[in-house]
Chain length 321, copies 2
Amino acid sequence: MDDNNGCILALAGGVGGAKLVAGLAGALENQPDAPSLKVVVNTGDDFEHLGLHIAPDLDSVTYALADLNDIERGWGMRGETWQFMQALERLGGETWFSLGDQDLATHVERTRLLNGGETLSQATAHLTRALDIGVDVAPMSDTPVRTIVHTDVGALAFQHYFVREQCRPAVSHFEFVGAEAASPSPLLDETLSRTDLRAVIICPSNPFISIDPMLAMPGVKARLASARAPILAVSPIIGADAVKGPAAKMLSELGYEVSAAGIYAHYDGLLDGFVVDRVDERLVTQMAPAPLRAVKTLMKSAADRTRLAQTVLDWCDELRC
Amino acid sequence: MDDNNGCILALAGGVGGAKLVAGLAGALENQPDAPSLKVVVNTGDDFEHLGLHIAPDLDSVTYALADLNDIERGWGMRGETWQFMQALERLGGETWFSLGDQDLATHVERTRLLNGGETLSQATAHLTRALDIGVDVAPMSDTPVRTIVHTDVGALAFQHYFVREQCRPAVSHFEFVGAEAASPSPLLDETLSRTDLRAVIICPSNPFISIDPMLAMPGVKARLASARAPILAVSPIIGADAVKGPAAKMLSELGYEVSAAGIYAHYDGLLDGFVVDRVDERLVTQMAPAPLRAVKTLMKSAADRTRLAQTVLDWCDELRC
């Protein structure tokens, strides 16, 4: 992809976001004069564990772009093994967070790069280059932002809520510790400043925990809102269910309608276009004049991902005219 | 084992030492009123790699005592896999030092304990307890001692010499950086002070790189020499070859006779008994009045280990009378 044809900014969180990002990369790769793709990833889920810097969303995006992701399990790497975890259990170590043997190499190498003085952006560029990923991928920030989930059993660090407690506690609100003092990463900052930014695509990620941490950094929401480029989002909710993860449960606990409409409401006027699943086609009429389109959004195969990505890119082109 | 029946101190380095240590633990376990076994392990080979504290000799001893060691390969853990290394290679990481997926759990957990403020002795006790090891195992010191190998191609950090360069450079001398300022670990210190110390057994480890780092710490050699307990060593050389590793090559490069006699000479009067292999039986007469005995020293099976250990323990008993 050539940087002279403008660029597209994709904001992504975990697995759903990673799928659409891979679809966007695939769709743009086959397109003449394609804009370059800039992928900015949530780091609110990052945490230190066993002395390693774990960045689950960066890894989901990276593995999907490198075609290393496990599609059946839905997370982590294909062909993963768990010998490390079994040995760690034998040693009495902390095993509530599963680290695959291959996946571990990413965490060890990233931690080594960070401890050697690289920023998270530099370490991410290092790892994505090594995996021959042709698009720019960066964290939302090089300074830590940590999502805290306030629940009926108290405040929980994100991975304690998400993995250890398996999202069981009822959520009252979220806190993004460090967000107020955080600056957007160089890639996010530069891309938001580009006059040839052609579109912002908010991937089908959980808005509360994958996208809001980015919007919580000073200036980001305002810069997005004032950008000339259209902002499109794809709903992570189909019918009344999240494709994956706790988005539906959170919508309910936070008092939103448990549907794509709840997601749209949460984005609060930020969107120029909102892609919902075709099972939610009724919303297109019901919510008019809100800019909704209904297509097949479930991404089970690479073809699904590319098709959805192309639909989104085409709509971006229309909106820019 | 009961600490009221006195104790035996074993000094061990890598794989050969680990085998005899396992044999000693096995032999003492079956003996009524057995003394307790205190195992002190070389840390001159330890190094920081990929941000992890690697302690190859402590691990060899620990894995052998926990019956987790790979006897066929001769090092590391049984049933080991290498998915981490392959993933690390894909990421362009440093792959000259092989870290198995199971083995990695030890390094990650130890590094976590050390970074949490534990001493290496405490971390080692933590790991050996988790593996139900019934004997005390400790590093020689809680402060870093790092073996530097001076060679015809310059000074090399130990693992660079040993693994990366596969012991090819010719050795001129060794340096144990930090040894002068290092204190013996609590286990080594306490055991050397015990009036009921019944024997010191120097395992069939490479004297230059496994035992000398311990003897280089202030006071250790003198305290051993003045202890009332007999000091026995088992030769790591059989005929003109090391059972494993570069001991024979080092003897030659350093101007010693390349045989068990070279090892005995290097220990320079420290030994009250020296066990050589029966293929070296001629040395018993040739070197008289040096206290040599020739037995089968090659340890291929658990029975071999226990038999050799029992021979050594019996001789210790004789010498104490």
